[in-house]
């Protein structure tokens, strides 16, 4: 008998804690050739925008040591096409769908959330706060606690009360806890971290930036130490808030690292590019690791690495970390 892998985002139960990361699982159809998307804890969509978006010019990717830079620019068909062609397909397949939303103004987030409010088959809404705020010289919402909170509040107000709203944060801020706290105060039911920090690579032969867009977002194992640190800090400061951890998870051990730091669910992005079966494999590996360590419930492992020194390996279980 394996461990009980159920994970809770506020009151919403997921059968297991392994999700796709936003923008890394296509529409779901592409992955369905490799495994049944209903086996995911949830499928997280790329960030959906109001209107169709063509994204950034190519090259959109550059490989860096243990990392990947991308500048896709939220290419997508817009919310109407998403609701018509993508969401119903996911629902049909029995996938739980977390819809990631992106926008350039608070008004746009509001409009988008209203459009999603009545759509059936949405398990949760994830707010991609790493979008440039066009009303603040393109500064990312995630870089500014109050702007982030305003967006979260606008989404929270528009979305049905029983659909959790998740605030997705970037690590490149001076104080991730402050931003996280603002978002929770703004109504976020859960946090997702980390989105990609801004990075850049220069082609020393062409003597120009490798990406057409110049800068891009860094993902993959290179950023895992940043992700673990952010999850740890947020969990320490806001122990009651569920956290979806992500950033460089490629194995069950990596997933467990984030869980021990305080994540109750884990999303897999770049690893899927290398291994299309990454999500189900990581879930299987995680389950084995939990069983090996004698856990009956995933929830007992969440945040366990925070237990004070000197306490045994399971010292945390009675703290009801699982009440997330």
């Amino acid at each position: 008998m394996g461990a009980d892998l159920r994970s809770y985002l506020a009151h919403v139960e997921l059968p297991n804690p392994v999700l796709t990361a936003a923008g890394c699982g296509g529409t779901g159809r592409e992955l369905a050739q490799f495994f049944d998307v209903a086996r995911l804890g949830a499928f997280v969509t790329r960030s959906i925008t109001m209107a169709p978006r063509a994204g950034r010019p190519t090259p959109r990717m550059a490989e860096t040591p243990s990392g990947l830079l991308n500048a896709v620019g939220l290419q997508g068909p817009g919310v109407e096409a998403f609701l018509e062609r993508e969401l119903p397909w996911l629902a049909e397949r029995g996938a739980r769908t977390i819809v990631s939303v992106g926008g350039g103004t608070v008004a746009e987030f509001t409009a988008l959330s209203r459009r999603l409010a009545d759509a059936p088959g949405i398990t949760a809404v994830e707010v991609n706060l790493s979008c440039p705020n066009v009303e603040d010289r393109g500064r990312m919402f995630a870089r500014d606690g109050s702007a982030a909170a305003e967006v979260v509040a606008s989404v929270r107000a528009a979305i049905r009360y029983d659909v959790p709203v998740i605030a997705k944060l970037s690590p490149d801020v001076a104080d991730i806890v402050a931003v996280a706290r603002s978002c929770v105060d703004g109504g976020a039911d859960a946090l997702a971290m980390i989105n990609t920090p801004a990075g850049m690579s220069i082609d020393v032969d062409a003597m120009r930036p490798t990406l057409a867009a110049g800068a891009g977002g860094l993902s993959g194992p290179a950023v895992r130490p940043l992700a673990v640190r952010c999850v740890w800090q947020a969990h320490a400061a806001l122990p009651g808030v569920p956290i979806i951890g992500m950033g460089g998870v490629t194995t069950g051990r990596d997933a467990l690292e984030l869980i021990l730091a305080g994540a109750c669910a884990v999303a897999v992005g770049t690893a899927t590019f290398h291994d299309p079966y990454a999500c189900p494999r990581i879930l299987r590996e995680l389950e084995e690791l939990l069983t090996e360590r004698g856990f009956d419930r995933l929830a007992d492992a969440v945040g366990l690495a925070h237990r004070p020194a000197g306490m045994g390996p399971r010292g945390r279980t009675d703290l009801e970390e699982s009440s997330l």
């Binding site: 296509g26 040591p65 590019f273």
Partner: protein
């Protein structure tokens, strides 16, 4: 999806690997590609490398042959792979070359290692009773891939090199009009660098015949989930969209690819910035 490497060899400027991969060989159709994990366990290289399948054979349940040039760290690693090593492959991927329903005359144009995908295609076309003519080109003789095989297989084979070290001095597009005219070709198939595909398409358009071209864009996943490999392509409805080369291509109708705008977002593309979008 790991396969054992059966043989490795050098072919002029290229490396060729034959890998036991029945699951890929079984489903292979000309124009398919695979992605290969480079660097082994604990590597710092995260992304797979896309390589066209050159050939499949029934040996050992099914093998695939890959032909590649060393470009960066990943292909340098691949070049050091030895027989009996295992290789991690995903595939077959992409939309293969569409085959004509009825017998017709086809010119197959290959640039550099791009020719690698043309021989399986030539076989398939000939099986359907098509006539096949080859035009292969490269910068220099040792970078022309498959000249011998083309000569054996093609009704005619024309070679070009930019330095004149093999065949005609010049580019494939210099000789292509003559080959199309002589063969009275009905369709052109091409694989090679973007600039060549653009030229080949222009020639085909001039002759009023279709061109089927296999494009190359930087790919992070090869399975359609990352959106890094997009190319501006005009749809049936006349609207330009940024399509993924890995799943909506790599083979496109040449006339539909906006070659001049590759590496940009054309202002009139669906969702281009400046419209009513975010």
């Amino acid at each position: 999806m790991t396969g054992t490497v059966l043989t490795t060899r050098r072919v002029d400027a290229y490396h060729a690997l034959t890998v036991v991969a029945p699951g890929i060989a079984d489903r292979f159709r000309p124009g398919h590609f695979v992605t290969v994990a480079a660097g082994g366990r604990d590597t710092s290289m995260l992304t797979r490398r896309a390589l066209t399948v050159h050939d499949v054979k029934p040996d050992y349940g099914g093998t695939v042959e890959l032909v590649f040039a060393v470009r960066g760290a990943g292909t340098a690693w691949l070049a050091e792979v030895k027989a009996r090593d295992t290789l991690d492959l995903v595939g077959p991927l992409g939309r293969p070359f569409p085959l004509p329903r009825d017998p017709c005359t086809c010119v197959l144009v290959g640039g550099e290692y791009g020719s690698a995908s043309l021989f399986a295609l030539g076989d398939a076309l000939q099986t359907r009773g098509c006539r096949v003519d080859f035009v292969l080109g490269a910068t220099t003789a040792e970078r022309v891939f498959g000249a011998l095989r083309a000569r054996r297989m093609g009704e005619t084979t024309t070679l070009t090199t930019e330095d004149g070290s093999l065949g005609m001095r010049g580019k494939v597009t210099d000789v292509l009009p003559g080959v199309i005219a002589d063969a009275r070709a009905d369709v052109v198939y091409a694989c090679g660098p973007m600039a060549m595909l653009r030229g080949v398409t222009a020639v085909a358009v001039e002759f009023g015949i279709p061109a089927q071209v296999a494009v190359e864009e930087h790919m992070a996943c090869g399975i359609g989930v990352c959106m890094t490999c997009v190319v501006p392509v005009i749809g049936e409805d006349g609207v330009t969209r940024m399509l993924r080369a890995c799943v909506e291509g790599p083979v496109f109708r040449g006339e539909r690819v906006r070659f001049d705008d590759v590496g940009t977002i054309p202002f009139d593309a669906l969702g281009a910035p400046g419209g009513r979008n975010v």
